[in-house]
């Protein structure tokens, strides 16, 4: 990268719009070119510092150490897994009566659910509430009569009034 190229993109660089190798090239140029670096403000010169800082090369045995640790963790994970599996088998072997009790309870529960649903399917109902409603059906029908008692009580009055509405009374009133 030369000075002209640096000046073309300096604003983009300072505004964080650059990344990767372009950004690195800018820093390297600014660190080695006093003319370009002198155009930067003190705060902007901070941009140069990262390329002046030390960088580490991985230790020679880093790769080997990583893979050893990876193998160790994988072995530990598979050991944990097999331990869990062994744990389940051990429970079955060690506590057979508990398992039998749990199984019997589950079977009872399943049978109860089955019988209940099969009853529904054949229209059978053991709901005492429904029977009570059926027995009181006549009473419910009578309720309509009870609700209209006022009307029935006044029926005689209506009957008495009926002749007064006929023609003779009309004639009397005309007279």
């Amino acid at each position: 990268m030369n000075c002209e190229q640096v000046h073309e993109v300096l604003d983009d660089f300072l505004n964080g719009k650059m990344s990767g190798s372009r950004s690195r090239d800018m820093r390297l140029h600014l660190a080695s070119c006093p003319a370009c670096a002198s155009t930067l403000s003190p705060a902007e010169r901070i941009e140069i510092l990262p390329v002046l800082d030390e960088t580490l090369e991985p230790s020679e045995d880093f790769d080997a150490r990583f893979h050893a640790e990876l193998q160790r963790r994988r072995a530990a994970m598979s050991a944990d897994f097999s331990k869990e599996s062994r744990g389940s088998a051990w429970f079955v072997w060690r506590h057979p009566w508990q398992l039998t009790a749990v199984g019997a309870l589950a079977a009872l529960l399943a049978a109860g659910i089955f019988l209940r649903h099969s009853g529904d399917r054949y229209g059978l109902s053991d709901n005492p509430g429904e029977i009570a409603i059926a027995e009181n059906l006549n009473l419910l029908q009578d309720m309509a009569v009870i609700n209209n008692l006022d009307l029935l009580e006044n029926f005689d009055t209506i009957e008495k009034m009926t002749p007064a509405v006929d023609g003779s009374q009309e004639q009397r009133s005309i007279e």
Binding site: G16, V51, L52, E54, T55
Partner: protein, 213 residues
């Protein structure tokens, strides 16, 4: 000239995209059971990740331990990997979490503080392979800059520090840093601006001489 420059940048961008894509491709191959794909990813990112961790802890042994932990997490998370974001975004999100968690530990803080009080980084831990081509007689000056930078970086609030390291050392754009830290680009810009202001103030005596290095 401008056209040539733009072409050059376009080519570089394409190359970087290809590398990125191949990173995600390698990770997907690893997810499908190809162990060799993980080996390639590991070889490609070992150096940047060790240096990334080193910026937080300034200790080779600890930086390599952290890098090891980061790659182990990548390995373990491989089965659930989805190429939704750039691979480096995903990788540096893991790396940032691991490093920040480490420096929050009280015993690590104490150890790092003691190391600093004891005169900085032991010479045996520094690999004098700076990115810039510096002459041997400038080495001492470079070490001075590094020590001063280390002290100043350590004093930054952790979010400013992480944003500064990701952007200035790992060469990631503000957008990528925002994705990694799960904050807005504006927030990243603000964090880095404040970090630069603080560093400029602390390193004021060194900055005029920087242009001669």
């Amino acid at each position: 000239m401008e056209a040539a420059l733009q072409n050059l940048y376009r080519i570089q961008m394409i190359e970087e995209t290809v590398i990125e894509d191949s990173d995600a491709g390698l990770m997907l191959r690893f997810k499908d059971g190809d162990a060799e794909a993980f080996t390639q990813l590991f070889a490609r990112h070992t150096r940047p990740i060790i240096n990334f961790a080193y910026r937080f802890v300034r200790n080779r042994g600890l930086a390599e331990d952290l890098a090891q932990e980061i790659f182990l997490r990548v390995y373990e998370a491989g089965a659930g990997y989805q190429a939704k974001a750039k691979f480096t975004t995903w990788l540096y999100r893991i790396a940032t979490n691991v490093c920040l968690n480490e420096i929050r530990k009280p015993h690590v803080r104490t150890a790092l503080k003691n190391m600093e009080d004891g005169g900085g980084i032991p010479e045996t831990e520094i690999s004098h392979t700076a990115s810039a081509p510096v002459q041997a007689d400038r080495l001492l000056e470079q070490q001075t800059v590094s020590r001063a930078l280390k002290r100043s970086l350590d004093e930054l609030p952790e979010k400013q520090r992480a944003a500064f390291i990701l952007n200035k050392y790992q060469e990631l754009s503000y957008g990528e840093v925002a994705d990694i830290m799960k904050i807005s680009e504006k927030a990243v810009k603000s964090l880095i601006h404040r970090a630069k202001e603080t560093l400029a103030e602390k390193l004021k005596p060194l900055l005029p001489g920087l242009i001669n290095i």
